[in-house]
């Protein structure tokens, strides 16, 4: 029992280290909770821990991977099955390797049926057959290192898509609704398999080395702390899905703030009406709501390759929050400037708009390399009246002008005209001013804010409206 207790403490510690706020009271709750459930039923144990320790869905992925580390599945817990033969992965060109063919055949079966048991077993086998990377192992300890990337590369499950799809449809017409739904189903099963392979690699690493080490290094940060600039593809998709709910949350909060603490002129009729309840004595006065003051927003964003995903997120979020501003005008540039407001007509789909703007906006001139100096100059020349007294100016970019001119004088004039002006920089503060970054030079003219992830972005947008 005391072993379990130690393990519990270590697990709670690892959660804290990974950024979940677990209070002492919650730790106690969890300890009490696990005494009431079947300890041998792993899913019950997981649910008990999740209910008491994890209070934010954003942390779900982190929680799950740590739980898998500390409480590995019983089947897999016996250190790598007895009859399992770990071998060095064959070379990439050995596509006719019998084990590879066998696993792919079984994988096809899984993709067709969705049998989760089979998928777990396959992930283990695939890792044993293809995941061992000879060499130092983690921390120079015994045994090989394990790489999920290598497994997915060698087994290449995604190349099965076409043939499985055909089997799935079996005669139904292609290209239509049936194909699309089948594709989604297979896609979600593939993703499940990839996740399992990932989890299996972590488990093997943890068996060889220290649990705490793996917990510290092998766990991705939770979604709101993922940096825009180096998010993986699934993370980007997840982040995009998060934009709409986030916008709704922010809008609701802003609406509440604006309503509160604003009392307009006395509403005489309603006051008298309310006083009837208290026998004609006006106990409470009723006021008309005051007209909210909304800001005018001008966004100028760098959409060159290096920062494009950041610009997309910010634009999506701002446009999802359009109602909170009286007017939004957006401009994009690389070394040519173009107004992109037209892509965001009311009622249009924001995701759609962002993809359209990438292909249709006229933002490159000669070199196609970021030129802040030219962009600001063009902005002043072409849109001299875009910035007014009520305008908040927002500039998005990494302030890297390829050692060219940053256009400080132009920027100074623009900032002076606007009511507020901010520069959002998606890079870590530590690497500002390295290489061709002109962050501190620009920072003297305009307030520069680090905005690397969803948490920071939503914090900023909240303060803006």
């Amino acid at each position: 029992m005391s072993d379990l207790f130690e393990h519990h403490i270590a697990f709670v510690g690892a959660l804290r280290e990974a950024g979940l706020t677990v209070s002492i009271a919650e730790g106690l709750d969890a300890a009490e909770a696990i005494t009431t459930v079947h300890l041998l039923d792993r899913e019950q144990l997981r649910a008990a821990y999740a209910a008491t320790l994890m209070k934010r869905q954003m942390h779900r992925a982190t929680f799950d991977s740590l739980f898998d580390l500390y409480f590995p599945a019983v089947g897999a817990a016996a250190p790598s099955r007895q009859n399992e033969t770990v071998r060095a992965a064959p070379a990439p060109w050995e596509v006719d390797d019998p084990e590879r063919l066998a696993i792919r055949e079984a994988l096809r079966e899984y993709l067709l049926t969705g049998d989760d048991q089979l998928a777990q077993q396959l992930a283990r086998d695939a890792m044993a057959g293809f995941g061992a990377v000879p060499g130092t192992g983690s921390g120079g300890r015994n045994g090989p290192s394990w790489s999920p990337m290598t497994v997915l590369d060698r087994v290449s499950p995604r190349t099965l898509m076409a043939s499985v799809l055909e089997q799935f449809l079996r005669g139904q017409d292609q290209g239509g609704l049936a194909e699309q739904t089948a594709r989604t189903t297979i896609e979600s099963r593939l993703r499940r398999f990839e996740d399992l392979v990932d989890a299996d690699a972590r488990r093997r690493l943890a068996e060889q080395s220290n649990l705490e080490d793996v917990a510290r290094t092998g766990i991705r940060p939770s979604l709101d702390n993922v940096s825009f600039l180096n998010a993986s593809r699934p993370e980007l998709a997840a982040l995009r899905r998060e934009i709409q709910p986030l916008a709704r949350r922010l809008a609701a909060r802003l609406a509440i703030q604006q309503r509160r603490g604003r009392r307009g002129p006395l509403d005489f009729r309603h006051t008298i009406r309310a006083s009837l309840q208290t026998g004609g004595v006006p106990m409470q006065t009723v006021h008309r709501p005051k007209r909210p003051v909304k800001t005018d927003l001008v966004i100028i964003c760098d959409i060159s390759e290096s920062v494009t995903s950041f610009a997309h997120f910010t634009l999506s979020l701002v446009y999802a929050l359009r109602e909170q501003f009286s007017r939004v005008r957006a401009f994009a540039f690389v070394d040519e400037l173009d107004e992109i407001t037209r892509f965001f007509a009311p009622g249009s789909d924001v995701v759609e708009s962002v993809t359209r703007l990438v292909t249709e906006a006229n933002v490159t001139w000669l070199m196609g390399r970021t030129d802040y100096g030219r962009a600001f100059e063009l902005f002043e020349r072409r849109y001299p009246d875009a910035i007014g007294r009520r305008t908040s100016l927002l500039i998005l970019g990494d302030a890297r002008s390829n050692y060219g001119n940053v256009g400080i004088p132009n920027l100074e004039r623009m900032v002076a005209k606007a009511r507020h002006a901010y520069w959002l920089n998606p890079e870590r503060r530590q690497i500002w001013d390295t290489g061709d970054s002109e962050a501190s030079k620009v920072g003297k003219v305009i307030e520069m804010i680090e905005c690397r992830n969803l948490a920071q972005l939503s914090e900023f947008v909240k303060s803006l409206a």
Partner: protein, 296 residues
């Protein structure tokens, strides 16, 4: 105070909820069980229409408890959530006593009289605490309230007692089973979250959703149900403004049944898409991505 035993084990929860027509997964069942065992409120979050309120109703009907519901909204205050004195009745009482005894010596008597149970209007929170039979208290959409109400909830849910200055402290004789739902339009305070068990209800897995649809819409063919659920899952991957919820999938099944449609092909989907998608831009996007014919 005897600890009421809500459920025996997580498996018992699954069975009890299933008998009430609610198909729970392991996570939901375990969390509900823990809420009973640890006497903690559950904070249920998740997208709209995945069955958060439905869960409370199912718990109530599975345990033969009464459901007391507090619907939260902006501007909800103590007098709507907890209790209020019925001052109109009090005024009448005072006027009546003055009329019957113009001398005014009866004031002492009246003063004691007007602050009794007779003049107390109990609101959901107090009702739930005072009930002696098993009670499920549902605090719906807690994210819509203001911070002040959250503080009030903290106090009530921690001690399960309410102090009414004129009457004294009312203590729960039997702790209600508390469910708080939230659509996460704003983040609830850390203090409230700390005191609750957390349950996130997401869109169910394809198998479970199929079972839900089949049990809720008995007349539907199994294959059609499966097709329906797969299409709904596809729609959810499309980055829509509002993804179809379980409630909407059920509506969809009922619609198809009512129209006598037996095959969910492109034309049928196009014609009934309005049941599941509620935004014009979502329609356009779905039509494009799924290759549906243009609307007539």
């Amino acid at each position: 105070m005897g600890v009421p035993n809500w459920f025996e084990s997580p498996d018992a929860v699954t069975r009890a909820l299933a008998s009430a027509g609610y198909l729970a997964d392991t996570t939901t069942a375990t969390t509900v069980f823990l809420a009973g065992a640890l006497q903690r409120p559950i904070l249920v979050e998740g997208p709209a229409g995945v069955g958060k309120t439905e869960l409370a109703k199912a718990v109530a009907s599975a345990t033969d408890a009464e459901l007391v519901r507090l619907q939260c909204y902006e501007g909800l205050d103590e007098s709507r959530a907890l209790y209020e004195w019925n001052y109109r009745k009090q005024l009448l009482r005072i006027q009546a006593s003055v009329a019957s005894d113009p001398g005014g010596s009866a004031w002492e008597q009246t003063h004691d009289d007007i602050f009794t149970d007779e003049f107390l209007l109990t609101r959901p929170l107090l009702t739930a605490i005072r009930r002696e039979d098993p009670t499920v208290l549902l605090i719906d959409e807690a994210d819509k309230t203001d911070i002040e109400v959250e503080a009030l909830l903290l106090e009530v849910l921690a001690e399960f007692q309410v102090t009414i200055p004129e009457l004294g402290t009312v203590r729960a004789t039997r702790r209600p089973f508390v469910l708080i739902t939230s659509n996460a339009t704003r983040e609830l305070s850390e203090a409230l979250k700390r005191r609750c068990l957390y349950l996130y209800l997401d869109y169910p897995s394809a198998e479970r959703e199929r079972d839900i649809v089949l049990s809720r819409v008995p007349g539907i063919r199994q294959e059609l149900g499966e097709e329906l659920v797969r299409t709904a899952a596809t729609l959810r991957t499309l980055e829509l403004k509002k993804s179809p919820s379980v409630a909407e999938t059920i509506d969809w099944a009922q619609t198809l049944l009512a129209l006598g449609i037996d095959q969910l092909d492109e034309a049928a989907t196009r014609a009934t898409l309005g049941v599941v998608l509620k935004h014009a831009s979502d329609h356009a996007r779905a039509a494009k991505e799924l290759g549906l014919p243009a609307s007539e």
